[in-house]
Assembly symmetry: C2
Homo-oligomer: 723 residues x 2
C-alpha cells in the first residue's frame, strides 16, 4: 500500500550546513518552484524573471519529511522514489542509507527496521553538476557533458538557462507483507510470421499469485496462479502505429499477496531496413552504403511523419499525464505516427509512453546526450551505464518504443564525438544485451541522413523550397521553420507594446526572437518577413505573415520528403512543442498549448494520400512561367484507385483557371506516383498579392497559396498553357 508524504524544503551553501529555514515543498516538484512559491518570485516564464532563479543552481537543497510508522501492520516498509534530480543522499533518521548520481534510478530504501517508530527522512540534493572536462565554456551547455541531466536545461535556442533540481517523480512510502517488492515481468516472443505470440509471465514472489491476461477487447485469455508461466496467443492482434492499423494492447493484471499490479503490452516486430537505392554506391574507389533508416513495423515499411518532441515544461517535474495527453492527442489528430524524443531533453515520465502506446505513436528514444562531447571518463561511464540500464528497462517495455539512439548530433563538429566513443559503444552494448530486437543507432544524423536547416531563407540566400527539392537524403530527422508565436502565447511574456515593433533587446533575445541560433535575426525572421511583405504595421500582422511562411515552408518540406520516398523514409520536423513561451520558435505548438497555423498545414501534408505540387519558389511575378510537378503521395497500407486531379491556378480573386485534368492510375499501397510537369504563364492582375495552385480531387485535394507580384505595368494580360 502506498502512503503519501508531506515535505518541507530548505537550502544552504554546503552539505554540512543545515538550512536555517524550511518551507512547504511539492513532490514531485522542483526546488526552484517551491522557493518561488514561498517567496513570491514572479513567474519564470514571463519577462526576464528567469534570471531571478539562476542562483538556485548552486545551492544544496534539503528535503525533509516524517513518517509515522507506529501503527503499521505490514511486515515491510520502504521509502520509494521514481526519480530524484540529480545527485543526492537519502538520510533515514539522520543516517545516510542511499547515495546516487543520476535522475532515472528508481530508489527503494528498506526501512522495515523502523516499523513502530516515527521516521525522519531527509533527501539532500547537491548543486547542479557543472563539468570542467574538456573544452568547457562556463555557463553554457558544455557544462552538461558529464551528466545525464538534460543538456537543454543549461540553455538552448528555445530554452533559457534554468536547471531544475528536486524530487521530480512519484515518491512515497510503501508498506507490504510481501517478502520483497514484487517485480512483475511480462515479455513475449513472436514467431517468424507473427501468427503466434508466446507470452511469459514472471514475478519474484510465490505469495498467493494470480495473473490474468486480457485481449484488446477485454476478454480474459489466460489466468494462472503460478509465479512464472507461459502461454501462446494465437493470431495475436499486432500493435500498429497510427495510420497503419490499430494500436492493439493486451492487458495483464497481477495480484500477489495484498498487492495489485497491471500493465499493457503490444505485440510487434521492428527493424531498420536499407532505404531503396542506398546500395548503389558510386564507382571505385568505393565506400560503404549508407546505413539503413527505413523503419519497418510488423514487416511493413512505415514512412515516419512528424515531430521532434521535448518536455513541455522547463520544470519537467510538473508534467502530468494530462499535460502529455493534450499534445500527443494533437499528434494523433494530424494523422501522424511518430515522435523523436531528442537527446537534449529528459527521458519522459511513464505516462508519456503509456499514452503513445494507446495512441499508436511510435517513439524514437535518445539517451540523454545532446550536442556535447561527452568524454568517456570512468566517472561519466559509470553514471551513464547506471542511468541507461534504468532507461532501457523502463522504456523498452512499451509497445510504442521502436528505436534507440545514442543522442543528438554527436558526430558533428559542434559535438566532436566519434564512433570510437566508449560512451556510445557502451550504449550499443547495453541495448544489444537487454533489447536485441530494438534497433540502435549511435546518433542522428547518421551518414545519408540530414539535419537542418531551420530557416525559410538559408544562409546562402536560397529558399528552403529550393534547397530541399535539390537534396537527397535517407531521412530528414530535423528540419525547422520558425515563426513568431500566437499572440495568446506572446501575452504570457510581456505586454504587446514591449513586443512591437519587434526589435533586438534583452527581452526579445532571451525569448529567442533574435540571436537564438547562428544568425542575428532568427527565430523571429523579421528581415525575411520584410523581404517578402515589406514592413508590418502591427504585431498581429507580423505574426500572421511569419506564421504563413512557417506553414508554407513546413508543408513543402514534408511533402518533398514524401516525394523522395523510398530513398527517403522519415520526415521529422524540429519541433512539435516548446517548454516555455518563446517569442519565436520552430515549434508547431506554442506554450503551453496554442496551435500555430503551420500545424494544420503539416496535417494536410501528412495525410495518408494526397495530391501534391512541387513548385520552385515562394514568390512569382506576373508574366513569369510558373512550373510545378504533380504527384500523388500514398503512404497508406491501402492501394489507391486511379482518379482525376483537376488542376487550377487562381490569381488573387480572379476566377480559377482550369489548367488540366490529370488522370492518375491505380497505385499500390505505400507507393507514390509522379505525374506531369505543368507550366503556366501567370497573368497580370494588379490587385492581387497571392495566387493559388488548386489540385482538386475529392479528399486528396490540395491547395497552395503562394505570393504574387504584379508591378504597375502596361503589359497586356496574357495566358499560356504548356503541359
Amino acid at each position: 500500500m502506498k502512503k503519501e508524504l508531506i515535505w518541507h524544503l530548505g537550502y544552504s551553501d554546503n552539505l554540512n550546513e543545515i538550512p536555517t529555514e524550511y518551507f512547504s515543498a511539492s513532490v514531485p516538484g522542483a526546488v526552484q518552484l517551491d522557493y518561488a512559491k514561498h517567496y513570491n518570485l514572479p513567474n519564470h516564464n514571463a519577462e526576464l524573471n528567469f534570471k531571478e532563479y539562476a542562483w538556485m543552481e548552486d545551492k544544496y537543497w534539503f528535503y525533509k519529511t516524517e513518517y509515522d510508522a507506529t501503527n503499521i501492520k505490514e511486515n515491510k516498509l520502504y521509502f520509494i522514489s521514481e526519480g530524484i534530480d540529480y545527485k543526492f543522499d537519502i538520510l533515514i533518521n539522520g543516517e545516510c542509507r542511499y547515495s546516487y548520481e543520476g535522475m532515472y534510478r528508481k530508489v527503494e530504501v528498506d526501512i522495515s527496521d523502523l516499523i513502530g517508530s516515527i521516521i525522519k527522512i531527509d533527501v539532500i540534493i547537491y548543486p547542479v553538476p557543472k563539468s570542467t572536462v574538456g573544452n568547457v565554456t562556463p555557463n553554457t551547455r558544455d557544462e552538461a557533458n558529464q551528466t545525464t541531466k538534460p543538456a537543454v536545461s543549461y540553455g538552448w535556442d528555445f530554452h533559457p538557462r534554468l536547471v531544475p533540481l528536486g524530487i521530480w517523480n512519484n515518491t512515497y512510502i510503501f508498506a507490504t507483507n510481501l517478502v520483497e517488492i514484487a517485480k512483475p515481468e511480462v515479455t513475449y516472443t513472436l514467431n517468424s510470421d507473427r501468427t503466434n505470440a508466446l507470452v511469459e509471465l514472471s514475478v519474484n514472489s510465490k505469495e498467493n499469485v494470480t495473473w490474468s491476461f486480457y485481449s484488446p477487447n477485454g476478454d480474459l485469455i489466460y489466468k494462472t496462479n503460478s509465479s512464472t508461466d507461459k502461454f501462446a496467443v494465437n493470431n495475436p492482434l499486432l500493435w500498429w502505429c497510427n495510420g497503419y492499423g490499430e494500436p492493439n494492447l493486451y492487458k495483464w493484471e497481477l495480484s500477489v499477496g495484498a498487492e495489485k499490479y497491471s500493465g499493457k503490452i503490444g505485440f510487434k516486430t521492428v527493424s531498420l531496413e536499407m532505404n531503396e537505392g542506398t546500395w548503389n554506391v558510386p564507382e571505385f574507389p568505393k565506400t560503404r552504403a549508407c546505413p539503413p533508416i527505413t523503419l519497418c513495423l510488423n514487416v511493413v515499411n512505415v514512412f515516419v511523419k512528424v515531430s521532434n518532441w521535448f518536455a513541455p515544461e522547463i520544470y519537467y517535474a510538473t508534467i502530468d499525464k494530462k499535460r502529455y495527453l493534450e499534445q500527443l492527442t494533437l499528434v494523433k489528430e494530424a494523422n501522424l505516427n511518430f515522435v523523436r524524443c531528442w537527446g537534449g531533453a529528459i527521458v519522459n515520465k511513464e505516462s508519456f509512453y503509456d499514452i503513445c502506446d494507446e495512441l499508436g505513436i511510435m517513439v524514437w528514444q535518445e539517451f540523454p546526450l545532446g550536442c556535447n562531447n561527452y568524454h568517456s571518463t570512468p566517472e561519466y561511464l559509470s553514471i551513464l551505464k547506471n542511468e541507461a540500464l534504468d532507461i532501457i528497462n523502463r522504456v523498452s517495455k512499451h509497445a510504442c518504443h521502436v528505436i534507440w539512439c545514442g543522442g543528438n548530433e554527436l558526430f558533428n563538429s559542434w559535438s566532436g564525438m566519434t564512433d570510437q566513443s566508449l560512451a556510445l559503444r557502451t550504449l550499443n552494448s547495453l541495448t544489444l544485451d537487454k533489447t536485441p530486437n530494438i534497433p540502435f543507432i549511435p546518433t542522428s544524423p547518421l551518414m545519408g541522413m540530414a539535419h537542418g536547416s531551420y530557416l525559410f531563407i538559408y544562409f546562402e540566400g536560397q529558399e528552403a523550397i529550393e534547397v530541399m527539392q535539390n537534396s537527397k537524403n535517407t531521412a530528414y530527422t530535423e528540419f525547422g521553420m520558425p515563426a513568431i508565436s500566437n499572440t495568446e502565447c506572446l501575452e504570457q511574456i510581456a505586454s504587446k507594446d514591449k513586443l512591437f515593433p519587434l526589435v533586438q533587446n534583452d527581452l526579445t533575445c532571451a525569448h529567442h526572437a533574435f540571436k537564438a541560433w547562428c544568425q542575428e535575426e532568427n527565430w523571429a525572421s523579421t528581415q525575411t518577413i520584410a523581404h517578402y511583405f515589406g514592413e508590418s504595421e502591427s504585431l498581429n500582422q507580423l505574426v500572421e505573415r511569419g506564421q504563413y511562411l512557417q506553414g508554407v515552408g513546413y508543408r513543402f518540406i514534408f511533402e518533398e520528403a514524401r516525394r523522395q520516398k523510398p530513398y527517403c523514409s522519415m520526415a521529422v520536423n524540429w519541433c512539435l512543442n516548446e517548454p516555455w513561451p518563446c517569442i519565436a520558435n520552430n515549434s508547431l505548438i506554442c506554450y503551453p498549448n496554442y496551435i500555430k497555423p503551420a500545424y494544420f498545414e503539416v496535417a494536410k501534408a501528412c495525410r495518408s494520400v494526397l495530391a501534391s505540387a512541387r513548385y520552385r519558389k515562394l514568390k512569382y511575378n506576373a508574366g513569369e512561367i510558373l512550373d510545378f510537378d504533380l504527384w500523388i503521395l500514398n503512404d497508406g497500407v491501402k492501394s489507391v484507385k486511379g482518379d482525376t486531379v483537376k488542376v487550377f491556378v487562381q490569381v488573387g480573386n480572379e476566377q480559377p483557371e482550369h489548367i488540366i485534368d490529370w488522370q492518375f492510375p491505380n497505385l499500390s499501397a505505400n507507393t507514390n506516383f509522379e505525374g506531369p510537369t505543368l507550366r503556366y504563364k501567370l497573368p497580370y492582375v494588379y490587385s492581387a498579392e497571392n495566387f493559388k495552385i488548386i489540385l482538386s480531387s475529392g479528399k486528396y485535394s490540395s491547395e497552395y497559396t503562394l505570393l504574387y507580384n504584379c508591378p504597375i505595368s502596361d503589359k497586356p494580360k496574357q495566358k499560356i498553357l504548356n503541359i
Copy 2:
C-alpha cells in the same frame, strides 16, 4: 611437460561409420594433405589438380592416437589442442568428452582419471559446413555465411575452392603436478603522459611461483614470488611501429611448480582520431562527419603503409614461424609498418603476431567475416561469440595489435549486412568489454574510406592514375594492381608452353589469369598490356610488361595517397602475398615467396621522406605537354631540412634535360609540402619508347619511367619550359 602424439587418419561417409582404413597423419595438418601424401595425389598447387581434392570436403575424418600413460608420474594429465578445424568431437577411450564448432578454441580435456592406463584418443572432424541460410548459391563462398572458417577457402579470385579440415594447430599431451593448468596474465596500464606503466602479474596458482620481468635490453627489472603482483615501470620504453621508433618489448618469465612460461609485452596507446578536414560537412541539410580512421600510436599520428595480408598457404595448418618470417621480413625491409589481416582469411597462428611484435609491424585484425551476409541466427551468434572471445583473448595480448574490424566489405551490396547486424553489434560489445583501449570498427570500408579499384584501366576506361588523383578518401584500405607472376612462380603451375600465348582456358582461369573478378581479362590484363605495348612475343616479355604496369600503378597510388595526407591516413594495397601460385594476381609477392618488381616500387614510394611527382597519365606523345606537380612527402617523426630537388626529363637515351632546381623549405615532422606544377613539351625522339621524370635530391630522389610515343613525323624537335 608436453608430450607429442603420433596420429593416424581415416574417413567415412557418416559419423557412425568407422573408417575401413587409417593412414599416417601430420599434426598440425590438414586431412587433405595427409590423404594426398598417402595416395600420391599430385600437388594441389599445380595444373588443375585441386579438383581431385574437392570430394574430401564432404567426408567425416577420424583422427586416432594412443597415449601410454602407464608410467606418468604427475598428478594431472590433459589432452590439449590449440585449434581443430572445424566442427569436431573428441573421444577418450570411445567416450565423447568434448564437442565444439569452431577453429579458434584452445581445447583442454582433463584425462587425469586415466593416468596409469593406455589412453585411446579419437578426434572426429565433421564435413565442411555449408550454409543454406539466406540466398545461397551452392559451391560458392555464400556457403561460408554461418561459419568462422575463412570464406576464402570456399573460393575467391586468388584462391581455388579448397576447404581445409583437420587438427590445424599444436596438439599434445600435457602432464603436470599443478592443480590446474597455469594461466599467466600480464597486463599493464599506462598513465596519461606515458611516463609510467603499471604492470600487473597474475597466475591461477600458488605453487612455488617465481615471476621475472626484463627490460628490452635484458635487464631484470622485477622479481616476485607472489601469484599476483603489480609494479611500476618508470619512463617505459614504448612499443613503436617500424619507421617511428623501436618496437620495444619487455619480457616476462614465470615458473610455477615444475612448469615454465614466458612472454613479451609492449607498452603503447592506440586510438582512431578524426582525419583532418573531415569535420567540415557540406551545408544544411547536413549529415554527419566521416568516422575517424587516423591511427594514432603513442599520441603520434601514423600514416599507415602497406598491405593486405593473408595466410600464405591454402592449407594454413602447414604454416610455421619460418614461413611467416620470410614474408613479414619483406614488409619491414621496405620501410612499411602495417598489415591488414583480412576477414576473408584465417586469424593467424601465434607466431605471426610474435614476429609482428618483434618487427614493429602493426596489425589490423578482422574477425572471420568477409563478403557475405552473416545472418544473425542464434546458432551463428553462439559460434561467433565463442570464437571471438578466443580471438580477442589471444590477439589483443600482442603489442602489434592496433585495430579490431568486424570483417571485409560487409556494408556493401555484395555482402548486404548493415550496422543493425546483431553479429557485428556483438563483436562491438565483446571487444568493448575485453579490450576497451583498442579501437573497433564494424567493417572496411566505412564511410569516407574506400576499396578498389583493382585494375590499371578502370571499367570506365580511365587509368588508375587519373582516378586516384581525383579521389578524396580518408583511407584507401584496399586497392589493387594486377600483374602476371614471376616465371619461377608460373613454372610451378604448368610448363611454359601451356601458358603462352596466354589465353582463356580452364587452366588459366583456374589460376586467376582470366575471369577472376568482374571483367573477362583480369588479372592477366593481356588487353591492357597490348593496349600500351602491342602484342607480346614471349611469356617473359608479357610478364615484364605487365609487371611494369603493376609497379607504376602501385607506386603512383601509394604516393598519391600520401599526397592526400592528412585528409587521407592509410594506404593499404591489395595484396602482399598469395596462398598458391596464381598466373596473375594483385600480390607483391608471388607464391611461395618470389618478389615481383612492384614490391621494390612500393618500397620506394613508402620511404619516410621522398620527392614525388604527380603526373597525369602513363603514356605521352612527342610534342605533348607533360605536366606534373612536385611534392616532398614526409611521414617521418623527424623534421626535414630544406634542400634542393634537381628536376630532369630524359627521353629515351637522350641526355637528361634539366628543367628546374626546386628549393623546398624546412618541413616539420609528418608534414608534406606541395611544390610547383611543371610543364614541359616533350621533344621528338624517334627511337624512344619511354621517358623518365628524374627528381634528384640525394636519398630523397625519385625516378619515374613513363611510356612515350613518337610516330614518324616531320615535325621539328622542340622544347618548351614553363614553370
